[in-house]
Amino acid sequence: MEGTETLNIHIISRLSAQTSMRVLTFGWEFPPQKNGGLGVACHELTKELLQDGVEVIFVLPKTQETIGDARFLFADDERLVKVLHADVSLLPYMQGDSTIDVIVGYDSEGKPIIRSRTIIEEAHRFAHQAAIIAKTEEFDVIHAHDWTSYLAGVAAKIASGKPLILHVHATSYDQAAGNNVDPAIYKIEKESFAMADKVVTVSEFTKNIVVNKHHAPAQNVEVVYNGCHMNETAKLPPTLAELKRQGKKIVLYHGRISIQKGVDHFIRAARRVVDVDPDVVFIVSGSGDMLTQVIEQVGAAKLSNNVKFAGALWDEERDRMYQAADLMVMPSVSEPFGLVPLEALQHGTSSLVTKQSGVAEVLTHALKVDFWDVDEMANQILASLRYPAVRRQMVAEGREQMRSMSWKVAAQKMQQLYRSLLQFVTS
């Protein structure tokens, strides 16, 4: 990317109270594609912004199906660049040197030419196209979600001179759980934060990482908590009925199986729990790079009868599991926000979360432990299973609390930030 270009700061915003604001947004994934919470957050925030009259131009790295009313641009569009159709999802949770297969063109017979690229190469490609888009589109402010879009945001800022907001949904520190932070990703984060007019994090927990590890000035970092929906959910056909009939209690883990998510601590706590109460069954729902290791750990701990692997569950299957569970555990070592306990609450299931999570800052009605305190995690799991009143109350009051965590509030906070940056430019 052309990092040497000087910033054009003589921009006078066209914005007034009457005219609507236009935001050029860069994201990496978007529903209905099934990835992590990032796509959901982008969609919900966009939806609320549109309702408030903000125009959103949403740029995605490759052509995909989308939902909602934003105007979508795809960075692999023939109009903008010659080739490039990715045939797999570009998961932002991958390490920087993970490779993905990308269609780079077509041969004379029309067959796709597939090359391996690293995700960082893809991020750079995205940035290159972002600069082209930024020169052709009209907009007031740039908003880039997650590290794979930071370079695109920075490129768009350099190309257009418009203010840039980087939205941190996760950091390299979270994904590495503090160890072996990917230096290439860290470099992109740190340099991009330095270029941003504002950095938005989804929790104080993440703000602390961005300030302490990436040395972003604290006054430049704003916390905008994710929202959620408190939908009344239908009672689905029960799952695990046989286990329940046998009087087993179900403790659920749902999420990726990676070092960040602390599943290994969860299994150690399971050992402590089963020592006291052999009638507890732990369901691990999800997949990831630590799956084999966790399966081996379960075997070594002689927990095969008490820990079941359900694979990655989505939609109704996942919801049925939420409804079957007596308790949901989110054992994350480092979780910028963590929507899973809120999803569980929608299905009437209470949660134990780690204090190393953003959701712990906004959800009062959950059990909270330090991720490393396996004994206390086991104690709270056992206690909550023994004393059902505590689970009932966390569900009743937690659901009440969720009603105040709307995406509308998040969108309003974002608009305030947009405006504050525009005022800065015009003055």
Binding site: Y387, V390, A396
Partner: protein
């Protein structure tokens, strides 16, 4: 004539340590936290003694010495007296010196600062009697005016107090029940004919207890001169101004840097400056004034929060679950006749445990969060229920041992017609206390936790019936 009736409530609970599920069956010490947190009861007593009890008692003693007209009331929970005795005997002595002047009255109370009246009147009565014995032993006086935990009050409580010989009882002066009437008179509880009720003037009381150090308050900073004028303003429309508050308002809730001690030091002089103003103890007040009307409180009234009810203690599911589980054990606990079991059970009745489980997070909730030593209401509940679970196990254990002994003695009787002593006769409290299980000096062996039966037993509490190796052998 206008008199002021100050009353300071002294209380500290035995906070339950972070008692885990794994401790059930292995640890009968629920209150011995020794960490650097606010769960460490000794540490709290030492801290509050330095911040509040010692400096405040010094000032109160000076005031009694300087002003022969000055008098006030104190109430103590038994749990705070026990902790003074153990951790700060000099504080206890300084209270004894105050009472020895004859101008400091001690009020009747429940020993364990409990809400027993609303759950079990027999247990309530036992706690009041135990409290009375303790006050007699430490201070040589017999309380004649009653105050209940958190100033909780209801018509039937007043009736109980009347039937048990008390001259007066204290309550909140709340508009819902007072209507247009003033709290600055003495009233007759509905359904009673002799006893009188003293009503807290919450406006003037809370000016000191809650608002004194609040910089946002329009009357901040409050000086004793102004405050005495507010009291004097009631000349002509009242007989007694009842200032009821936590003793710990002085130095602990309102820190020294708010000027609270200087305020206290000068207040009696300012009050007495007005010629027709004096101080009275609670008994003197109820004896001096006739009841001017009836105070009819059919539902529980307390001095807490904006609702003046018990919702901060029993307002949510976990609080009700915990308190109901506690009182459900009464019969089984009393049957054991084991002093340590009964005492542990009573310590768990202290209202503070349920207060820590409060989830009212509005304006009221902030106050609760400040006063809780736990990181969350759920943590408080879990520690409490685990401790209660262990107590249930001990109770079942005793019942089971009794049963086995009885069976054995019956078999013996049938087998041999000899004159063995009757072991089925229940031993008295003292005897069992002094003669605990015989091999108790031996260290119990580590619990064989990994066995399946163990987890199953744990989950069968409270009506645990199966034999348990550890406890029978230790």
């Amino acid at each position: 004539m206008l008199t002021v009736c100050p009353y300071f409530h002294v209380h500290q609970p035995y906070r339950v340590k972070k008692y885990r599920v794994f401790d059930i069956g292995n640890d009968t010490e629920y209150f011995n936290d020794s960490s650097e947190t606010d769960l460490n009861n000794r540490r709290i007593i030492e801290k509050v003694a330095n911040k509040s009890y010692r400096p405040t008692n010094k000032i109160l003693k000076e005031l009694l010495d300087t002003h022969p007209e000055f008098r006030f009331n104190l109430s103590f929970s038994g749990t705070v007296l026990d902790q003074f005795e153990a951790y700060a005997p000099d504080v206890l002595e300084s209270f004894q010196e105050l009472v020895a002047t004859g101008r400091v009255e001690i009020l009747a109370d429940t020993y364990h600062h409990s809400l027993a009246f609303f759950y079990s009147v027999p247990e309530f009565k036992r706690q009041v009697q135990k409290h009375e014995r303790r006050i007699k032993q430490l201070f040589g006086v017999k309380p004649r005016v009653f105050r209940n935990t958190e100033l909780s009050y209801r018509n039937d409580l007043a009736k109980w107090c009347e039937d048990n010989g008390y001259l007066g009882i204290m309550s909140e002066g709340w508009e819902k029940y007072l209507g247009w009437r003033s709290p600055n008179y003495v009233y007759r509880p509905a359904g009673c004919s002799k006893i009188k009720v003293l009503l807290k003037n919450y406006k003037l009381s809370d000016d000191i207890a809650f608002r004194f150090g609040n910089k946002e308050w329009v009357d901040y900073p409050l000086n004793a001169d102004t405050y005495a004028n507010w009291i004097h303003a009631h000349h002509g429309d009242g007989q007694t101004v009842n200032l009821f508050m936590d003793y710990e308002s002085f130095g602990e809730h309102q820190w020294e840097d708010t000027g609270i001690f200087d305020f206290l030091r000068i207040l009696p002089e300012m009050v007495l400056r007005h010629p027709d103003t004096g101080f009275k103890t609670a008994t003197e007040t109820v004896e001096a004034y006739e009841a001017t009307g009836e105070y009819d409180v059919p539902d529980i009234l307390t001095w807490a929060d904006t609702d003046r009810d018990l919702t901060a203690w029993i307002g949510n599911d976990i609080q009700r679950d915990a308190i109901e589980a506690t009182y459900k054990m009464e019969e089984m606990v009393m049957k054991t006749r084991k002093r340590d079991i009964i005492e542990n059970w009573r310590k768990l009745q202290t209202s503070d445990h349920f207060y820590y489980m409060c989830t009212k997070w509005s304006n009221d909730g902030d106050v609760h969060a400040y006063f809780s030593p736990y990181q969350s209401p759920y943590e408080a509940y879990i520690a409490f229920m685990n401790a209660l679970g262990d107590l249930q196990l001990r109770v079942s254990q005793v019942a089971m041992e009794r049963e086995l002994k009885q069976q054995a003695s019956e078999i013996n009787k049938k087998a041999e017609q000899t004159n063995y002593p009757d072991v089925t006769k229940p031993p008295d409290e003292k005897a069992t206390h002094e003669a605990p299980e015989p091999q108790s000096t031996q260290e119990p062996e580590p619990e064989p936790r990994r066995e399946g039966w163990w987890g199953k037993l744990i989950n069968k509490v409270p009506f645990f019936k199966s034999p348990r190796q550890q406890r029978t052998s230790s």
